[in-house]
Symmetry: D4
Subunit: 253 residues, 8 copies
């Protein structure tokens, strides 16, 4: 609509229907309020996708199935990739009514409908997870990263007690362009992984643990204090955040 | 500069030097970047003063005397009220070289140069402080509130141990349009004050105390959990923040 | 009852039934205990309403439906506005038996019965909320602010991811006399909102979030540390507290 | 030395000086202890530089000038880039005796001696800092990123109070391949910056602030809870960690 | 059993059945291990009751009804006062089977069987509670204090919002030998109460509240930092602990 | 002054100079503001001493020597006991100018001037301290308790490592009417002491310790969670608070 | 497989099928990746058992019964001792299908299948627990310690309130080679126990308590700050960790 | 003195000077107070050394040089090993006056005077430290362990960044009977070390680090949450505590 207003104003000026003074007033008024004011909901998303390098992701927790479905429908109608995180089977049933070809990833608690295109990221995002209890977070990262257009490889159950399994995968480690390391407890995994690879590592603390793990706080603090550089950290259990960061890096040309 | 660009573009369109298409492209480009791009430093301040209802305040901590003086000089040159908080005598010496009529308020650790106009706030801002140790924070609030154009009254040393002194001042309490309550320790003062007045109360926890006062955290938490409504809280030791909030409220018409 | 005692004592003195000495003893005794002693429950409420500028609000959590209903009945019988927060359908059923025209606001978890008068606040209280998950708190603020006699406007779902929607509402922002900004996560919304308006902003952190949001602590700390002045904060999820503070400010003449 | 042992063993086997059994025993013994055992100090560094994508950085805090100088000398003798962080003039004096062409960056508290080659990173690392008090951390990031082979651009003093200055630099923002956002207080800057660019953002909380900023904890928590994806966080005041992460990303091909 | 051993040994010595040397050895051996070793369970309790001034109290949480009943039976068989805290109806049913005249105090969650004697404390223990939500803790204190032999008076619902009700009870306040003040939220009640009475005040923070009350931590910290002396604090929700402390003080002669 | 006003009013009424109506108005006005309004500073202190059972104590920290001396002078002029805590030699020099017979207790950091009367407490206050590092706090308690009119006994250096020394003092333990137990580290002393005596125990955590003692927090939490009843706790390092509480208890008749 | 590769390579070199150069390349390649790469899952476990002195323990929490059973089957098939902690009856039913002679210890929440051999530890591990609520943790330690090949003795319900019972067991205390002390609340037990024995003490804080026990944090901090040396601490509720540490010590020769 | 009392009493009974009744009373009285009462200071120390397996250690912090010297003199006079920790050159000067052959270990901040005997521990205590900044704590552990009669080996500067150095020392690791692992930052070292050895590991978190290391809290939490069993933890910076624990274990026969 902004461009129409502009065109209209300029045409009127050109055609003499507006004085220079009047046209200037109108344009300056638009300037004061742009670029946000006249954008509708759908156009915003396109703009953000271009500006920020990734589509809008719907945070499912705290939304009703109906709300989730309505938002999902609008996103798909816009031709965008659909990603709903922290969601469940009820929301999926509602979404499927409006978006029949949506998929539900139970372990990851994510609904997606992708545009089916080939991965657009340049390399592989490798997800390393410490224990089986960390899988929901690791899977959130995996499904999200794939939906964002990345080839993803996974090395699960590779914590300190299973370090040899990680080391046994040195070729897959070496092949990664970005690594996501997911761990609870004391959160030492990202430091160890980063010590083995040349790629940047995104660390995801999980709330797995008990006693003095304090719901992931210990893992978070441990990851922030790791003495190996080349690691950056996202919020506790934030598989999506790690996937987005990794995807941005993997799409750098 | 933006308005010149606009006028220039429109004149060229009107005069035929630009096609409609070219003019539209130029204006849309301006729209994408406005309203920030063409504003110089000084104009911003004027804009903010109008938009936010209060002048820019310089946070002196961590700035060299020279930096402080340079910023002060520019603000005064713009005809604005000068307020520098968390500052000291060295910075004041430097400021005075460039702004000879600046004033230093030692207890408040503030440098001001006001425009000398009459108070513009509608009523009185009353500052109540619990103990003599809370005075630096209370004075920061007082000096700032006066510099922001408010009549200020103070009732100091009126904590729980001196509650009678507060109660003895019931007429000054009743006369306040807004109250700032400053206290450390357990932070009960704002609740008590609010129980006595009809005015909204801005609570300022101070870092005064020892042991389990944890640098003001106990006072902060106490103020947030007070069971009397009509109280809102600012950061520990943030006399300036309370003054600004109180001034905004006192200037409401 | 106090005034009767006084009158009685003075009459007896005047009439010679009491010696000066006896009368003095009696009055001094009253002085030691006043002004609280002779106030019954109902009179207190009227007094507080006058003294503090807002009616008593019933905190429903931890009260049985029967207790809630009994208190509600007494308040209404006094001709006061009824506001019960943190309550539910069971309590509402009990209240309706005694106060048939009470209303239940499900999203806000509030029962009200207002006196039906026109808003008495001078301007509009604008409530801005970051995400759909913050709505229960925002609605608590809205319903309470309306019950306290304010015109209320709302801009919901206007967090950082939807900043353009907030900016698109610049006219409603500009029209507000006081703003309540409700947000969880990192709590940046109040700073941003305050950067756009001339009105004072009451910030309400919510317990929305996960991981290192620590039940609203991160939002609370963020709001207290915001570098924009003109913001004051209430307790986590305390929609009512924000509404009361905003109402007090909005009723200032 | 390992390779010599291997060659020696194999030659002896080939020449008949060792039986197959003896050779096998020797090689298996090496396997049990490699790849660490036979590496001297200097060779490790080369290996790490290749394996991890960045040279060893000396953490100067807690080291005597003499210790710092001795380590610096060895690194330079190896032809490696020298980076000493959290250091000071005394250590620099000691280093200069052994490494005459070392440089001291006072604001960044870093000593460097680079190999003088052209930047090897593919794009530009942009460092955005909120306030002048955050400069030591921002400068640590800048000097380190340059020493690690990156072109660096900086936009300082661009916090919430000076958002327009950041927005005015949209071309430099758009030109960055990676962004480092440095801020104290409530830590909202990275979210805001990320909302404006397509590049990944590394967030560095600083210990700048007072009261409830708790030495950077509030900024850290705020950055971890930011609702904009595409941001990852390093430790409080860890300019070096951000620079290393950014450099790794910027060197991805 | 110890006394029997002693008597036996001494008799044997007196009767010549033991030499002085043998008797000395035996007595020294007892000395090394006394006074604990030879005491059975029941005798310990008597000893403690004399030594510590109060009977053993059974902490019911985490015990099965059967365990609780078995312990209760032994205590009653010893002629001691029975007090079981943090218990419920199921445990009471089990206890009643073995101790038919036991009583259950539902609001206090306490089972008692007292010896029916007159109160032995010298004065009255007054329990002041802030809100109706604090009643379970206040009732735990009341029932326990009565079972420990004290006359108890209560002033409930006397928080800051109902301060007048507390002040209206000045005669009951003045009559108390010890006061227990129970409050959640910001925990200001004990300071206020102590300001009104000459008696020592035991403060009990409760876990009542929300948001930044952090399960009673804010009330606890507030009570510890109160600027009125003559107040000491027990653990959050620890009505029993306050009752025991108050009872000890009230039994001082 | 209040009583004069009353007498005056009543006399005027009796003498016919005031009508009943006028007299009633005046008395009701006094009632509304009493008992606080017309009391001067000195009379307040007398009132509090009577009402709260202990004289005003001056908290020296954060006061200048001159301020301290001025307050001290007024208290002594009123015939009250002078107690200034958290003070030092400079303040003492200033006080001595105005109060020549004041005393300075260096280890306790207290200035006193007592009225020289015999102890008024009924029994002995026993102060038990864990280690030599806890002595400043223990001495603050001792000097304050003596100044408040108590006989005081001390058992110092009686922590867990020296438990035998405490046990060796069983007669002095048994003789105490109230015990103050002072300890840092894990704070186990009060529980142990309480297990040995029939008297109530006031626990004082100290900030002595290192590492995870967190400035006394661990000792505080340990004391609050002790499983022995009959213990109540004051703020970290609050020797004065413990002394006041103990004195109140010791003065109970 | 590594040894086969080595033998193969060396044979080929010896037999002339590989040149010295080729053989060297192959061996160096193995060196870079050993000693982990060629180990299969089963062999790892044997290796760890030898290297670390204890078998792998399965953490049952967060695993499905099927997952638990599958892992259990593999461990037993390897002839190893089976220990599954934090598990329940459902998992036991699944395990029993595959491992018929597995045992379930309900109070300890552990499944075991031991090799039935005699205890291999040199002495006795004594487990002391403070209260009946601490038994789940104490039992986890007991069952695990027995399964790890230790003779175990227990003294339960021996907290501060029952100290005499602990002291009555001085012979069993003296007989222990290692002691595990389990306690919640203020966590004083390990210090007290250590004061009575010559053996090292492993302290286990439990999450038992309420109010300011903060889920075991107070007990943990108390144990870390105990002033008796010869105590080391494991995570809250970590009975298994204490058992493993004690078993390691008890197996030292 | 106790034994004399006993002998005297028994003799009097035997000689008829005391009745059986009188003798019984006396002995029972002794029983109530033993075994502590008659122990003087010196005898206690000998007793503790035997009972607890290690001599008394003097905590130097907070003691004057004179106090330290006096205590040191008494210990040496008793023929005991002298260990003073957290001390400095001034205290050493004072100690040397009274104990001429005392030694000062500057890096460890310890004064010792050992009895010069051969190590009595059965094996070697190995101390592994992560960084050069951790050396004061590691040295406190080393000097204390040696003074307690242990052979000590050290592997310093073996943190994650220098893991190869640790691995290169596999023979010294294998030779240790107990390992002390000292680390700050994220505290991952003990887990890694324990993964490499069969010996129990005592973990010592240090306060080394910055930002979110929070004075060693992160290292402490990390060590408590490590997923490798066979590790127990002492307080932050508590080198002495680790040495005592290790020495106890190393002296087990």
């Amino acid at each position: 609509m902004t461009s129409e207003h502009v065109r209209e104003t300029l045409s009127a000026l050109e055609g003499g229907a507006l004085s220079l003074q009047e046209a200037e007033t109108r344009v300056l008024d638009l300037l004061r309020r742009a670029p946000f004011e006249d954008l509708g909901f759908a156009r915003v998303d396109h703009h953000r996708s271009i500006r920020q390098g990734c589509p809008e992701v719907v945070f499912g927790a705290g939304k009703t199935p109906a709300q989730t479905a309505a938002i999902a429908e609008r996103i798909v109608a816009n031709g965008d990739t659909l990603i709903v995180t922290r969601t469940g089977p009820d929301a999926f049933d509602a979404v499927r009514e409006l978006v029949p070809d949506a998929e539900f990833h139970a372990a990851a608690r994510i609904i997606t409908r992708t545009t089916g295109k080939e991965p657009t990221g340049r390399g592989t995002v490798l997800i390393v997870a410490a224990g089986t209890s960390d899988l929901p977070v690791a899977e959130e990262a995996r499904v999200a990263a794939e939906a964002l257009g990345n080839r993803v490889d996974t090395v699960y159950d590779a914590g300190v007690a299973g370090l040899h399994r990680l080391l046994a995968e040195h070729e897959r480690l070496a092949a990664a362009r970005v690594v996501i390391a997911v761990a609870g407890m004391e959160g030492a995994l990202p430091s160890v992984v980063r010590g083995l690879v040349g790629a940047p590592v995104i660390a995801v603390p999980t709330s797995i643990g008990y006693g003095a793990s304090f719901g992931g706080l210990t893992a978070l603090l441990g990851m922030l204090n790791g003495c190996t550089t080349g690691v950056a950290v996202v919020n506790i259990d934030n598989g999506l955040g790690a996937a987005t960061m990794a995807s941005l890096i993997n799409h750098l040309t």
